[in-house]
């Protein structure tokens, strides 16, 4: 991976997985999708190339938010919903840290929704791993803002009556610059997206379709399950045509203003007709359309859906400070105390 952020100091030695393993017992349920996410992170961090002391892992509260205890970095297990705000402070205060955030659909989209949309809007350079298991795991099974409508949970005995958020749409509605969606059962897709997020300057959201085996088992199975994935998963890659299916025979095209599914070889459709993914496009229009797609009529889109360049908040903070230091006559507190109207009494 090519080194991205010149602010963050590189490691002089080659790091390995072991460098990031913590000595704490991992206490997630056996079969929880979180284990795979941890494995992906432990695989990605040594390869990013930063000094190991420059990683900082922040979380809120939830099963997912126990994450910092399980990776050996600097880190804070915060309070419920506030991980984005804590991360913002960490990154602004020390832009030389590579800041990662582990959070859940409750933590970031219920109680933490406001910090989530604001960190995105400001484009603070942090990488957010959003464990979307469509349930509140730690509190044992209440519906969350991503639970599909109609689902029976501990607090919706007759089925929920809430229209869920689509994380990708919310990210883009909040002026997001980076959004990827990955399944917890594909470590390759996960690590790829994490690398891309690390490279991206600005807030990166990686929505991980994570399985909660206890309270919302198989919630994502219709899409990412072995028996469904060929049919229902479209893995996009920048610069590549958007095709999927067992033999990559299906593709997306744009007809009028809407995306449409076609089959290559049928009705005269050729591979050249298929829409090519442009993750780096500034315009969120098509990215939003991609994020919205879902079975039965469409595949669900995975991979890096959006990765647009935009100045980061933390860089601009540094620039304003630099400019102020260069131009202001006030160089220290004594200067400040004595600035403006003062007089001597003798």
């Amino acid at each position: 991976m090519d080194f991205v952020n010149t602010t963050i100091e590189r490691s002089t030695v080659q790091l390995s997985k072991a460098d990031f393993e913590s000595d704490q017992m991992v206490k997630w349920c056996a079969g929880c999708g979180a284990h795979a996410i941890l494995a992906a992170v432990e695989r990605v961090f040594p390869k990013i190339g930063y000094r190991k002391e420059n990683f900082c892992m922040i979380s809120g509260i939830g099963c997912s938010s126990r994450f910092p205890y399980y990776v050996n970095t600097y880190g804070i297990h915060g309070i419920h919903g506030r991980a984005a705000a804590i991360s913002t402070g960490v990154k602004i205060a020390n832009p030389k840290l590579s800041v990662w955030m582990a959070t859940g659909d409750g933590d970031s989209l219920a109680i933490g929704g406001n910090h989530f949309i604001h960190v995105i809007r400001r484009n603070v350079d942090i990488n957010i791993l959003l464990f979307n298991n469509q349930i509140y795991g730690l509190t044992k099974g209440q519906y969350s803002p991503t639970t599909p409508m109609g689902k029976v949970t501990k607090t919706s005995p007759q089925g929920t009556i809430e229209h869920p958020f689509n994380v990708g749409e919310l990210v883009m509605g909040a002026q997001g610059t980076f959004y990827a969606r990955v399944p917890d059962n594909n470590i390759g897709l996960m690590t790829e997206a994490m690398f891309e997020a690390a490279k991206h300057d600005g807030t990166s959201i990686i929505e991980i379709m994570q399985n909660c085996i206890i309270f919302a088992d198989k919630a994502h199975n219709d899409v990412i399950g072995k028996e469904h994935k060929d049919e229902n998963m479209l893995n996009v890659k920048n610069g590549q045509p958007m095709t999927w299916g067992k033999n990559n025979e299906k593709g997306l095209i744009l007809k009028d203003t809407l995306l449409e599914v076609v089959e290559i070889g049928k009705n005269g459709v050729t591979a050249d007709d298929i829409l090519v993914h442009d993750a780096y496009s500034q315009d969120p229009g098509v990215h939003l359309m991609l994020a919205k797609l879902a079975p039965p009529h469409f595949p669900m889109v995975f991979g890096v859906i959006r990765s647009a360049m935009f100045p980061t908040y933390d860089d601009m903070v540094e620039e304003q400070i630099k400019y102020a230091k260069e131009t202001s006559k006030i160089k220290n507190v004594d200067d400040l105390l004595n600035s403006g109207d003062t007089w001597e009494i003798k």
Binding site: T73, Y74, I86, K331
Partner: protein, 616 residues
């Protein structure tokens, strides 16, 4: 100095208040006037008096804006209870402020503003200028608007602009009344409007015209002279409590070598601290205007973890919202300065008024057992030192500190003898050393019980902290019953031990006697003045003004025990008094409270003291 044949009255102190419509420029007149007083060597204190609305309808009582100046040739402790000279630019401002004028006070009114419509809008039936209701005052009726326009008729500016200078005409009259050189006012404009000579010129013309007018009218039989005060040598400036707070934090950052981070959300009356710090990026201050109070404090906690002097500033409702996160800061044992500029509550309450009713919230407003540092400031200039101490103690003892000021201190100003940063006490945070093989997140200094601050990026110190209870020393998550008890006790003991690092409680007056008057925070000036009056009358009365609230100074109990009676005076329904009762359950502690959004008046206090002293 004016060459006047009029009678000169020497005064030790005088209270002047400028009142008018929100658009009438009363804040500016007041600032120029107080600036000149300071230049002339007076001690002083000022207070602006805004309406709750930005610009409530013109001419109504709701839209009146004021600025009060208390200046003296003696030390000035308050912004003044009642007013000696009241400058009224319209009927509404007279209506709403006449109650603050001393009997016999000089009242200057702009008669041009007293037309029937304005009189009615102010809520008067008849013109107060003609119904003899102001008989007992020294009323100066001046056609200020007309004369302002007249004075500017050759200046080339339009009538409307000219009219807006009427506050300066009034100011000119005051310079005459106070036997003050108008050059002092000219300097004010010359320094501030270097780039706009036209503004300087216009203001000079109008001020001088006002002065000249006063010199020629008969109403002014005497002028008032307030001589220079005896003040300690040094360089001085005028400062508001909010600016002083901001600067105290900057000074602590510089002294400690820890970069300043502020995460804050605007709220009256604390917003000025945020605005002020936003200006000082040249000192490296990082200021994050957050989306709400919770993000403000949580960003600060993140910054604190990285080794910054992290702060958040707010007022009562904002402190409520920060409650949960204060718990996180205290259980992670991170430094954090929380400034609460108190205002009238509960709820939105009286947002532009002052009160001391957040003390209990500061002490107890969070779940679980969570003692932290609480410090209060006494005067606008003291805000500098107490903000500095809050930062120092918080960093050195690795626990959050709440600094309680209030709207009265925050907006009010006082003279500030400028210190040198090198003379301020050293600040030495317990920073962990790279690659310390013995580093453990919750290992503690045996004496202070303080854990170390291990800064992300440092080699060999990687660790995680968080809101779940942690095992002492190792910092791993622990649900162990004995460990929890230990940690609850350690966190409390750590804060208690800070008593070894703060000054003992002072007593103003004798150490034993009939009555000890206790106060804290922004009531210092009024209580001090009232006690002094009583002492001068020979009463057995002393004063203990508390700045350090949690922990209390070590000698607190001893201080209290020296007196037959104790009265705790507060601008709330009795919060510090109850805190003292918890700590020292003594039956002889009484209380005196006021919850009106207003400061204590000196005579209210002396009446109360006398009453207590007379009771058997």
């Amino acid at each position: 100095m004016p060459d006047t044949k009029r009678h000169i009255i020497e005064k030790e102190s005088v209270v002047v208040k400028f009142v008018g419509d929100s658009g009438d420029g009363m804040q500016l007149s007041g600032s120029v006037f107080s600036d000149s007083a300071a230049m002339a060597g007076n001690d002083l204190a000022t207070f602006p008096d805004f309406p709750a609305e930005i610009r409530a309808p013109q001419g109504t009582v709701a839209g009146v804006s004021g600025f009060q100046v208390h200046m003296g040739s003696e030390k000035i402790y308050t912004t003044g209870d009642l007013v000696d000279v009241l400058v009224c630019m319209n009927p509404a401002s007279l209506k709403s402020n006449i109650k603050w004028a001393k009997k016999g006070a000089t009242i200057l009114v702009d008669t041009d503003s007293f037309d029937n419509k304005a009189i009615e809008k102010a809520g008067y039936k008849l013109s107060p200028l003609s119904d003899n209701s102001l008989e007992s005052y020294n009323l100066i009726k001046a056609p200020i608007t007309a004369m302002t326009k007249e004075s500017l008729k050759d200046s080339g500016i339009d009538n409307k602009t000219a009219e807006r200078s009427k506050n300066m005409f009034a100011l000119g009259i005051l310079y005459f009344i106070f036997n003050r050189d108008t050059k002092l006012a000219f300097t004010y404009f010359e320094e501030r409007f270097k780039k706009n000579p036209k503004i300087v010129e216009i203001n000079k013309i109008v001020i001088q015209a006002g002065y000249n007018y006063a010199e020629t009218v008969e109403a002014l039989e005497s002028v008032i002279q307030v001589g220079p005060a005896k003040m300690a040598k040094g360089r001085y400036r005028n400062i508001t409590g909010n600016i002083a707070t901001a600067w105290g934090l900057l000074a602590a950052a510089e002294k400690s070598g820890r970069p300043l981070f502020l995460g804050s959300y605007p709220i009256t009356p604390a917003t000025e601290i945020l605005m002020e710090l936003s200006k000082h990026k040249s000192l490296g201050a990082k200021v994050f205007q957050a989306e709400d109070e919770i993000a403000g404090i949580c960003s600060a906690i993140g910054a604190s973890y990285t080794g910054s002097l992290a702060c958040t500033t707010t007022s009562g409702p904002g402190l409520s919202l920060k409650s949960e996160a204060i718990g996180l800061a205290l259980i992670t044992e991170l430094p954090l300065v929380i400034v609460d500029v108190q205002r009238g509550g509960p709820s939105t309450g009286l947002p532009t008024k002052s009160e001391q009713s957040d003390l209990m919230q500061a002490l107890f407003g969070r779940n679980g057992e969570g003692p932290i540092i609480i410090i209060s400031a006494s005067t606008p200039d003291d805000c500098f030192y107490k903000a500095y101490m809050a930062a120092k103690l918080s960093m050195e003892h690795m626990t959050p500190a709440i600094l309680l000021t209030d709207g009265y201190l925050g907006f009010g100003s006082a003279l500030f003898r400028i210190p040198k940063v090198k003379d301020l006490p050293a600040i030495k945070p317990p920073i962990a050393e790279a690659n310390d093989p013995d580093y453990k997140p919750y290992k503690r200094n045996a004496e202070t019980l303080v854990r170390q601050w291990a800064i992300p990026g440092t080699e060999g110190l990687r660790h995680r902290i968080g809101g779940l209870e942690k095992e002492n020393i190792t910092g791993v998550v622990s649900m162990d019953p004995q460990n929890h008890q230990l940690m609850v006790d350690l966190r409390a003991a750590k804060v208690e031990k800070i008593a070894d690092f703060i000054p003992e409680q002072e007593i103003d007056g004798e150490k034993k006697g009939d009555l000890l008057v206790v106060s804290w925070g922004g009531t210092f000036g009024a209580v001090h003045s009232a006690v002094k009056l009583a002492q001068d009358q020979g009463k057995s009365i002393s004063h203990a003004h508390f700045s350090y609230i949690s922990p209390l100074p070590k000698n607190t109990e001893k201080v209290l025990k020296g007196f037959k009676k104790i009265v705790v005076c507060e601008l709330n329904s009795g919060q510090f008094v109850n805190y003292l009762r918890m700590k020292f359950p003594m039956p002889n502690i009484t209380q005196f409270n006021k919850v009106q959004g207003l400061p204590f008046m000196i005579n209210e206090l002396t009446d109360k003291f006398n009453q207590i002293l007379e009771e058997k």
